[in-house]
Symmetry: C2
Subunit: 213 residues, 2 copies
């Protein structure tokens, strides 16, 4: 995959919602889905949908659209979601527990196989079936479980310290739900999840509506 | 605000992270910040940062950059974050509780003033200081509190039913954390938060790294 494709960030961000719609059509027994239908469902322009889907390498058939099964496979392969990734969850608080129970992840090959916390009351319990271990056992567990991804939901003041521990344990990809800009070696990937960015979208749409009135 | 500006979705999504960096610089006593510095902090191209900031109407000074205080004010005004919005939280489960305690929201004028749940064990308690009420009192509370925004974190099977109730109660903006495509009247805004879209980004970066090796 070229660096050029990584720059297609908005397209990549839309792929999961396409997958969601396409899966519904497959479950309804449809064989083909058109870019126009996907666009209508998500209130996008059809040209945008076709452009986004093109990055996965698939081409639609005139008048028929995309074959549903092949399209799902193409998106999943492009995203690497056709392989299971073992992930550890760091922080078994409310957000961590919500993520452990987030059912969409099962469709995307993300398997949260263990959680880690500092709170003795949580260690030895499980959250949505995911066992909670002491942070002290992190390094050992990461290597036993073969995990490469960490989902980071600790309170911000602990974020960097825990990240250093993750890197030492061999984790090479961090999905960061804290508001801290983590310092990591060049070979470690960090994706920061900023919950306020969706709120920014909501507010801008509200402003636009106000000004239309 | 024109419809053209709403189409600048990736720019709008980046504004909160700019605000985060700029606030740090202000707290350190800096008077000016350059687009190049913001770009370095967030690993973006400087031209992208200047383009994004231009949608707020602010222009930087050559060699000095942007005045920090005015830049923060411009972004906050563009997003409508200089006004407090009263919001209700629907669903006091793990995700709802995490959002009720999410400290960044205080910087963005989002005030979650009440939570609603169906679980009798939760009604009458509070989550991070936010009181939890019965869903049956929703309509009354929304009008008393003057809330216009609902943050929806109920299990997916209940999402549409609760949305109908929200719309009847006078809610006109819904921040939707479920995976359901909600049916709402034209005057109601919905922003769906798809937690898997950040995971898609992480996976694509991991694939790219693999192919670089």
């Amino acid at each position: 995959m070229s660096k050029q494709k990584i720059s297609a960030i908005p397209s990549i961000r839309r792929l999961p919602s396409y997958l969601h719609i396409i899966r519904q059509y497959r479950d309804e027994g449809q064989e083909y889905i058109s870019g126009t239908v996907i666009a209508q469902e998500l209130r996008l322009e059809p040209i945008q949908v076709r452009k986004d889907l093109a990055i996965t390498g698939i081409v639609g058939k005139p008048k028929k659209g995309y074959p549903v099964v092949a399209l799902m496979a193409a998106i999943e392969h492009f995203l690497g979601w056709d392989e299971v990734q073992q992930a550890v969850l760091i922080g078994a608080g409310n957000l961590g527990t919500a993520l452990a129970g987030y059912q969409e992840f099962q469709f995307h090959g993300l398997n949260i196989c263990a959680a880690f916390d500092q709170n003795p009351a949580k260690i030895g319990t499980n959250i949505h079936g995911v066992p909670v271990f002491s942070l002290e056992t992190l390094s050992h567990q990461v290597s036993v479980l073969g995990a490469s991804i960490a989902v980071l939901t600790v309170p911000s003041p602990y974020a960097q310290e825990v990240t250093d521990q993750l890197v030492q344990s061999g984790i090479t990809a961090i999905w960061n739900f804290t508001n801290v800009k983590l310092k990591v070696p060049d070979n470690v990937i960090v994706q920061r999840e900023d919950l306020t960015s969706g709120y920014a979208m909501l507010c801008v749409m509200m402003n636009a509506r106000k000004n239309d009135e």
